[in-house]
């Protein structure tokens, strides 16, 4: 199954749910769907196109909204499914119901971007410490780390 066949089959199965599709290089497919069609698209990719392996999920801060890219791969190709959610209402559906192995990447998304992954089986923090101040999401572009001023005990004030 080559890239063109995969794109054709995905278009036939998902119809107008596919908003954009491109094939910039050999074995690299980029596809965009609406966030409400995400779970359906992942289901179709897994069941009908054999993309059962999700390599990782990348989040991107695009200013007004967040872009989320799900990187899938199988023996024939590599497919990147992207979706967008507005920053004012950053909710995205969990894909763990279809692919259980995506859990750690979804937890990482929640930590790093402050996205809310709905119906996630385990919503605890993954990489940030337990005492991390709420509302700080390091990979958002407007977040800057400020090192607290160093205090040496017994120092002359």
């Amino acid at each position: 199954m080559n890239d063109t066949e995969i794109i054709e089959k995905a278009k036939a199965l998902l119809g107008d749910k596919v908003l954009e599709v491109s094939n910039p290089a050999l074995r690299r497919i980029f596809m965009k769907v609406d966030s409400k069609d995400l779970l359906k698209a992942v289901q179709v990719l897994k069941d009908d196109l054999g993309f059962a392996y999700v390599a990782t999920i990348s989040g991107l801060d695009g200013g007004e909204d967040f872009e989320i890219i799900y990187h899938f791969a199988n023996a024939f190709s590599q497919l990147n499914l992207r979706t967008q959610v507005p920053k004012t209402n950053p909710h995205v559906e969990s894909i763990c119901a279809v692919i259980p192995g995506a859990i750690l990447y979804e937890r990482e998304l929640q930590d790093m971007f402050g996205l809310v992954v709905d119906h996630i089986p385990d919503s605890r923090r993954l990489v940030l410490p337990d005492d991390w101040p709420a509302g700080n999401y390091p990979l958002r572009k407007d977040w800057k780390y400020e090192r607290p001023p160093e205090k040496i005990p017994g120092e002359k004030s």
Partner: protein
């Protein structure tokens, strides 16, 4: 009655900070939980503030064992963004180092596996032989750990005919040794018995939990980025994907030994067909706005980097996923219903050292919580019964 035993994040036996929380019923693990983040360095944020060239050295420091993997994965992605093609000799040398790194990493892993299985001679042998590879790497790149041989547009150092001959001579020695390791299983039944049936991961689970690398291949999934999505010159190199069907630690050892053999063949092929010419081309400072997904088969499994450029000399976003993270959900499944004594084996590189098995005569029944006093002979009988039901394969043989 269930106990939850925390191991780490700071534990004398752990080599790196990770917190494992084991829910135990007697000495059987009923559930395992992994808490990460004790070693999070904010590298993806840092990368956004460094230039394309500086980031090679940042990504190289993600890992100390497969340092070349991350740097190469990043470099080949950025080369695509910059629309430059490294010269053929540069590519051959880059992946020569990559395969040498796989050899050193697998030899290291084999030693640790032998050590955790209580076969320390194996550990000492493999680590002695690993020094041969480390010396080659030092000769080729100048460094033992962070080779720093990659640059945008090729590699930074060339090799000469004398070095080529030295590597080929060492390969003969390594090949002989690895064949010996492959045969060792047949003559050492206690080693095979210790690792067979431990840490089972069925093919279905491995697929559902997106396991990668030798872990997936030992569960009979023929998944290798070098074959599925050939990068560099892997499309021209003849090699086979090593798999095993036993889905346990034995399978993972076998896959790695077979991969060693494949790597020696690849190294020999690269050296014998090394093209002439320059090793690098000049790279521009900036990259046009674009995005790229770069994949690389590291010794531990698939590395994937997503890189987005915005027209400046710094990346807009660099997303890194190392293979170990992908294997954590599968590790929880491997640990479940295993024994405490198998934790180090399953975790291989981690030695959590729990040995608090009480040798008292007051037994607490795991399910009812009822306490009773039993005779030593009765206890022995119970232990024998339990051993019969253990998931170990007693008649396991090394697959030739």
């Amino acid at each position: 009655m269930k106990f939850t035993v925390p191991i780490g994040p700071q534990h004398p036996a752990l080599k790196e900070p990770i917190s494992l929380r084991m829910t135990l019923e007697g000495e059987v693990i009923r559930d395992a939980d992994i808490r990460l983040g004790y070693n999070h360095r904010g590298l993806e944020k840092l990368a956004e503030e460094k230039t394309w060239l500086q980031n090679i050295y940042v990504t190289e420091r993600i890992c100390g064992i497969c340092s070349h993997s991350h740097a190469t994965c990043y470099t080949q992605g950025v080369e695509k963004l910059m629309e430059i093609e490294p010269p053929k000799r540069g590519i051959y040398l880059r992946f020569l180092v990559a395969e040498l790194e796989r050899v050193h990493s697998h030899l290291l892993w084999l030693g640790v596996a032998g050590h955790e299985a209580g076969f320390d001679t194996f550990f000492m042998y493999t680590w002695r032989d690993r020094e041969v590879v480390m010396d080659i790497l030092e000769m080729v790149s100048g460094n033992r750990v962070h080779y720093a041989i990659n640059t945008l547009g090729g590699v930074r150092r060339d090799i000469d005919d004398l070095q080529k001959k030295k590597i080929l001579d060492s390969l003969d020695f390594l090949r002989r040794r690895s064949e010996f390791y492959f045969k060792i299983g047949a003559n050492e039944p206690s080693f095979v018995a210790r690792i067979a049936g431990v840490g089972r991961l069925s093919k279905e689970d491995a697929l559902a939990l997106c396991a990668v690398g030798p872990t997936a291949r030992a569960s009979d999934i023929s998944q290798d980025v070098r074959k599925d999505d050939p990068y560099g010159m892997y499309a021209e190199v003849p090699f086979e994907v090593a798999t095993a069907t036993s889905c346990d630690v034995l399978g993972r050892v076998v896959v790695r030994v077979k991969e060693l053999m494949q790597s020696y063949n690849i190294i020999e092929f690269l050296l014998k067909n090394l093209p002439d010419g320059p090793v690098a081309v000049r790279a521009p400072r900036r990259a046009k706005p674009n995005e790229v997904v770069s994949r690389y088969e590291a010794p531990r499994g698939e590395n994937i980097h997503y890189i987005k450029s915005n027209g400046t000399d710094k990346p807009e976003r660099l997303k890194v996923r190392a293979p170990t993270l992908a294997n954590y959900p599968a590790t929880v499944v491997m640990l479940r219903n295993g024994f405490i004594a198998d934790i180090p084996l399953i975790f291989a590189a981690i030695d959590p050292c729990i040995c608090c098995a009480e040798r008292a005569v007051v037994l607490v029944d795991g399910r009812s919580g009822e306490e009773k006093i039993v005779l030593m002979s009765e206890l022995r009988k119970q232990a024998h019964e339990r051993w019969k039901k253990a998931p170990l394969k007693k008649d396991a043989v090394w697959p030739f």
